[in-house]
């Protein structure tokens, strides 16, 4: 449990009542908040595999409690994370019994030989949605097109990395030096499943504080719960050096490797 979840508009942490007169705690919605503090303390390659909890998420690919593998590399950027993902998919597919560097998911053979194709948000939006997102696209339009026009049109026979999200869609990622309208954020898709999300991490305390103030304001405007200010997390950023981190939805990876179309089929006791 944590005292202060990061103020992201689209992630709702479960509050936990501690007792009369005590401030609420929160079930951890993502290991990020603690892992980055460890990185700032000097650990340089770390991971956590465990349950995370998010409110209002239940569907074919979502559970309110799910298993996340999150890892960080200091000195690296998001390119290193993509290589890590390729290795994880290859090794776990072999361990699950798939031969010949391919898996078959819902009747479709997926070639998992690295490197996986890499493309950018700009390219897929121009190709499949017919518009170019700026640094801060309307979140409704962006997300709806993502779900209805982009995701269904991604290649089915290969995993694919979507890179370089609009700056406003990655409040914890570093902006790209060569193009500050986009952030160095990457998502791995395979078989129509969103498997992993990662960033070249933002390490600038001032910039992160400013982005959190903006997100916290949006949460207030939308009537969402106001979290305590994540001061411990922010102050650790002054010690944080260049690093990159990725979060991989382990249940969805298991779905891919066991040809399961519903997340309930790979979890022992779905609520």
């Amino acid at each position: 449990m944590i005292k202060a979840p990061l103020p992201e508009v689209c992630i709702e942490a479960f509050p936990v009542f501690q007792g009369k007169g005590q401030p609420d705690l929160y079930l951890i919605p993502s290991p990020e908040i603690n892992l980055k503090r460890l990185l700032a303390e000097g650990l340089d390659r770390i991971f956590q595999l465990g349950s995370v909890f998010r409110q209002e998420e239940q569907g074919r690919h979502h559970l309110p409690e799910f298993t996340m593998l999150e890892w960080y590399r200091s000195g690296a950027d998001y390119h290193a994370l993509m290589s890590d993902c390729e290795a994880i998919i290859e090794i776990t597919a072999r361990a699950a019994g798939w031969k010949g560097n391919s898996v078959t998911y819902k009747g479709q053979k997926i070639d998992i030989n690295p490197p996986f194709p890499r493309t950018t948000i700009k390219k897929v939006f121009e190709k499949y949605a017919g518009w170019t997102p700026g640094p801060a696209p309307d979140p409704n339009r962006f997300n709806e097109d993502m779900v209805t026009k982009i995701e269904p049109n991604l290649p089915q026979d290969r995993p694919v990395f979507l890179m370089d999200y609009p700056a406003s869609c990655a409040s914890l990622a570093r902006l790209k030096t060569s193009d500050p309208k986009v952030a160095e954020r990457v998502e791995l898709y395979a078989g129509g499943l969103e498997i992993a999300n990662g960033f070249s991490e933002l390490t600038d305390r001032e910039e992160q504080g400013a982005r959190f103030r903006k997100e916290a304001r949006r949460r207030r405007e939308q009537g969402l719960r106001v979290y305590p200010w994540p001061e411990e997390f922010l102050s650790s950023l002054s010690q944080l050096h260049k690093c990159a981190g990725m979060a991989l939805g382990t249940d969805r990876l298991v779905m891919l490797l066991t040809n399961a179309s519903n997340i309930n089929d790979v979890v022992a006791f779905p609520p």
């Binding site: 689209c10 569907g59 979502h62 409704n140 709806e144 779900v147 999200y165």
Partner: protein, 187 residues
């Protein structure tokens, strides 16, 4: 009012003043994005299907429908006559309004009729009905392949496929959801 967390398959809502039923439903949430609810909906009056994507916070009017328990009385040149079993009011529906239900509709059968603004849009028959075989060709000699079927005509005039051993005058149990023969009724 419903909100987006109420959305599920089978929910009936109003869009542009017309009643729709959700026939497919999928929760979706792109990474770091807001929750979206992808729905396929069928217009309950016209039968047309539409795709809609809703967001958290969207609100929906329930479909304004009345379900009335009625008894089927008889058919004449004005149509199919039904009686409200509470008020004894009678109404006549056209053959089109009764639709596929007429294949299994028998006098005195009790049904639920769904009304939208006074117009009937759907008739729910009992799940199982028992109907007599009005006409059946005699089984062919030597035709004993298992699972083989033949067509028979029911007392409603509707034709269905049944096993070869079924004879004229027998009462059959039929599943109205699939329109298929289940078994011979035990009488």
């Amino acid at each position: 009012m419903y909100d987006s967390s109420d959305l599920r398959k089978g929910l009936k809502i109003t869009i542009d003043g017309e009643p729709y039923i959700i026939t497919e439903f999928q929760f979706s949430k792109p990474g770091k994005g807001q929750a979206l609810y992808k729905c396929k909906l069928k217009n309950m009056v016209t039968g047309y299907t539409v795709d809609r994507t809703y967001r958290s916070g969207d609100k929906f009017e329930p479909a304004n429908l009345d379900e009335v328990h009625m008894q089927y009385l008889y058919r004449d040149n004005k149509g199919f006559h039904f009686m409200n079993t509470n008020t004894y009011d009678q109404i006549a529906l056209t053959s089109d309004q009764v639709g596929e239900a007429k294949s299994f509709l028998l006098e005195n059968m009790e049904v639920d009729i769904l009304f939208f603004q006074g117009t009937s849009i759907d008739i729910s028959l009992p799940t199982f009905v028992e109907l007599e075989v009005a006409e059946s060709a005699p089984g062919m000699r030597g035709d004993t392949a298992t699972g083989a079927t033949k067509p028979v005509t029911l007392e409603t005039g509707h034709e269905i496929q049944v096993p070869l051993f079924i004879k004229q005058g027998e009462i059959l149990k039929i599943d109205t959801r699939t329109g298929e023969y289940v078994e011979r009724a035990k009488k």
